[in-house]
Amino acid sequence: MDFIRNFPFICIVLCLATGVISSVLKPKAAKVVSVSLVSFCCVCSFCVLFYTISTGTSFTYMMGHFPAPWGNEIRAGVLEGVMASFFTVIMLLSLLGGEKYLKIDIEEPKQNLYFALINLLLSSLLALVYTNDLFTAYVFVEINTIAAGGLIMIRSNGHSMLAATKYMIMSLLGSGLLLIGITLQYDLTGHLLMSNIKESIGALAANGEYAVPLTVIIGLMSVGIAIKSALFPFHAWLPDAYGFSTASSAAILSSLVSKAYLFLLIKIMYRVIGTDVFWNSKITNVFFILGVAGMLFGSFSAIKEHDMRRMIAFSSVAQIGYIYMGFGFGTELGMVAAVFHILSHAATKSMLFVACRGLSEVSGDKKDFSDLKGSGFRNKMAGVAFSVGAFSMVGVPLFAGFISKLYLTSAALDTLSVKMVVAVIVLAVSTILNALYFIRAVISIYTPRNEHYRDPEFRPGKIFCIGMVCFIAINFVLGLASHPIINAIEQGLHMFS
């Protein structure tokens, strides 16, 4: 067996162990440990990605001395590799970009706990990506939920406490529904390993047995994950959680935590329920309708907002809507487009959050539009990054958002049904709405005002600049060289089924 196959396991366990160690380290040491851990995981994930692409197959890894249905197992294919490398890169950049603001936002003796939470969160993200067992997925969903709540709460002001409470209530409801779904399916199939469940459910669906419980299971799992990933009517927790936490937390929550759940949903579709059964159930229509509604209402709420951070947060609701619309088509093309949108949105949104914090730093730590006017001139790096992010969100060619919108549209045109008409119209409308608020934001940060905030001594930090440049580079890579990535996604989805 190639040694590379150990990498996913090593990453997960190392994250858990360093999470424990970081809780007793000094803040500076914890930061070094955390950053080097994330970089290490990043390298490992890329190794796994290239290994799976070069061998052209996926592999399973036995966790212990007992083979799969008895013991635990993790699995790595191309799509897992793509997701893991992408998640680690984004996490590293979010940490680097927001590192300066952690010191301001968090009490000094508690900073090491922040990094402990980051490490544990990364372990759960990787485990959710690699898992091949539904119950393992649930255990790491728990770690993910609590750690994410901690990341919101650690800023310790009234707003973030309230936001964390909201987040915990909604997120635990989602976990509960997911857990009920898992237990019900265990009662029907007697398995927790994904491939075995798929086999049994396929047989049950073919014979038409247990049709009612099967539908309920699909519904419970989907709704549980939809709540956790903030699909439109369940998004009440989102704007506060993203708007009032520290910059790195907001970036990580918006681009990684919710995306990990979406990836889990894809895994459930392909590897637990099976695409045939899943797409035949009417849940895809629900996804489609809610996704389309989210695209419109998220944008409307964002237009009304005068707090820049909350505006970006509401735009997340719209973008999650795009992803669920892609799921809702119930076709292979729709899934590819949705997965690509997961990547492009994750890359863009984290950049926007960190850049927005950079802008508010030179505007007296305020986040209102009126205060941020002219901040693009005061912090040039953040201004450029914000503009790139905004253009990508609107879907200007050359940027990541354009490609994902292109693929979503072509997936819509491929369905040839009522969904096609609705999807194309709503995509057009929502693009205009996106442009309304994002271009307004860009214009407002480049309107020369608020000279009293100007500090001639101010220079954006070196690490911040590096992070932002990397973010911009990733955006251009996704926008200009999307073909190999789309190929990898297609290959990965193919390996799933």
Binding site: M1, R5, N6, F9, V13, L16, A17, G19, V20, I21, S23, V24, Y61, M62, M63, G64, H65, F66, P69, W70, G71, N72, E107, P109, K110, L113, A116, L117, L120, S123, A127, D133, F135, T136, V139, F140, E142, I143, I146, A147, G149, G150, M153, I154, S156, I180, L184, Y186, D187, L188, T189, G190, H191, S200, Y210, V212, P213, V216
Partner: protein, 347 residues
């Protein structure tokens, strides 16, 4: 004195004129003239009066209009106010009621759906249920051979599915970290308590029962028994029902009873910040390292060097006993730590 306006036309005046020597025709003509001018005058006066009256009416109308307008404005303002306040005064109440009703309806709907679903599930405990498959069969038939643990549950959670349990113990840890973030009151850099912390401790000392003889005596008797029992449950986790989670909880309860009876001064001799850090971190690390070893050897098909021992003996079943001890220590520490955090913001 001014004569009346019709004085010239009066009979008396005509008579006087006639007496003065005017002819009758003259008198008549003059009276005619006078009548005409009078009529003209009257007309003018009437016109003027009419004009004045019209003016007055107009003014009055305008005044009324204005007053009406003001009244309308007032009404509109009141209406607007009412409209603005409606959500606060009535809307919230109605929405709240609607919300409550909808919440109840939704809950009932979900409960009904779940109940209906349950009625469609395979019958509980029936031998030909789908979950009575090869997985459970192997756990039951070969569990003892595979893991060396007579308690099948311990074998399952700490050997077959150890990865899940590794995650589960870190769930506990991450929860502890979050509670620390929320409640821990920090010391200053030179190790002295800050004002907030001192106030919390002061407050704690005020409400702490001082030298409660009954509590102390019962604690003296109970605490050793509770802790011994907890240790027993942990150590026999692989032989009988029990294990790290339950035994740890029992020990934690014993520690909390001890603190309540004898106060923090006594307890911090053993459980201070430094010791807590070591006691909670080392077992988790040992857990991770030991399990990594077993995962690594298992996946790479290397023979593990850990002996299984004779089933039923206290030292047997490979890693399960040490892992149970680790989990027990972590759980006990976490419980005790939660108690101190809630009570005075840390040890």
């Amino acid at each position: 004195m001014k004569p009346r306006s019709d004085y010239e036309l009066s009979w008396w005046r005509r008579l006087v004129r006639f007496v003065d020597g005017e002819t009758l025709a003259d008198v008549e003509r003059r009276a005619e003239e006078l009548r005409e001018t009078n009529a003209q005058n009257q007309q003018m006066v009437d016109k003027e009066a009419e004009h004045v009256f019209e003016q007055e009416v107009k003014e009055d109308r305008e005044d009324r209009k204005r007053r009406l307008e003001i009244e309308h404005e007032k009404e509109a303002k009141a209406l607007l106010e009412k409209y603005k306040n409606w959500p606060k005064e009535h809307g919230v109440r109605i929405f709240g009621r609607l919300y409550a009703v909808m919440a109840v309806v939704l809950c009932v709907a979900i409960i009904a759906t779940l109940l209906v679903t349950v009625s469609y599930l395979p019958e509980f405990g029936s031998p030909d249920n789908p979950n009575n498959n090869e997985v459970v069969e192997k756990y039951n038939a070969e569990g003892l051979y595979d893991t060396g643990a007579t308690n099948n549950v311990a074998g399952m959670i700490l050997d077959y599915r150890a990865f899940d349990t590794l995650g589960e113990s870190h769930v506990l840890f991450v929860a502890a970290v979050c509670v620390m973030i929320l409640l821990r009151l920090e010391l200053t850099k030179d190790g002295k308590p800050t004002d907030k912390k001192r106030a919390a401790e002061e407050n704690d000392r005020l409400y702490e029962p001082k030298n409660d003889k009954i509590l102390q005596l019962s604690a003296k008797i109970l605490v050793p028994i509770i802790i011994m029992y907890g240790i027993y449950v942990i150590l026999n986790g692989h032989l009988s029902p029990g294990g790290g989670f339950s035994g740890g909880a029992i020990i934690g309860a014993g520690l909390i009873l001890y603190v309540n009876a004898f106060g923090f001064k006594e307890a911090t001799k053993i459980m201070n910040r430094k010791n807590y850090a070591v006691i909670s971190v080392v077992p988790l690390l040992f857990y991770a390292v030991a399990k990594s070893y077993s995962f690594f050897t298992g996946a790479n098909h290397i023979e593990s060097i850990i002996p299984k021992g004779t089933p039923g003996a206290i030292i047997s079943s490979g890693l399960i006993l040490p892992l149970n001890i680790c989990v027990g220590i972590v759980v006990a520490c976490t419980m005790y730590h939660f108690y101190t955090l809630f009570r005075k913001g840390g040890m």
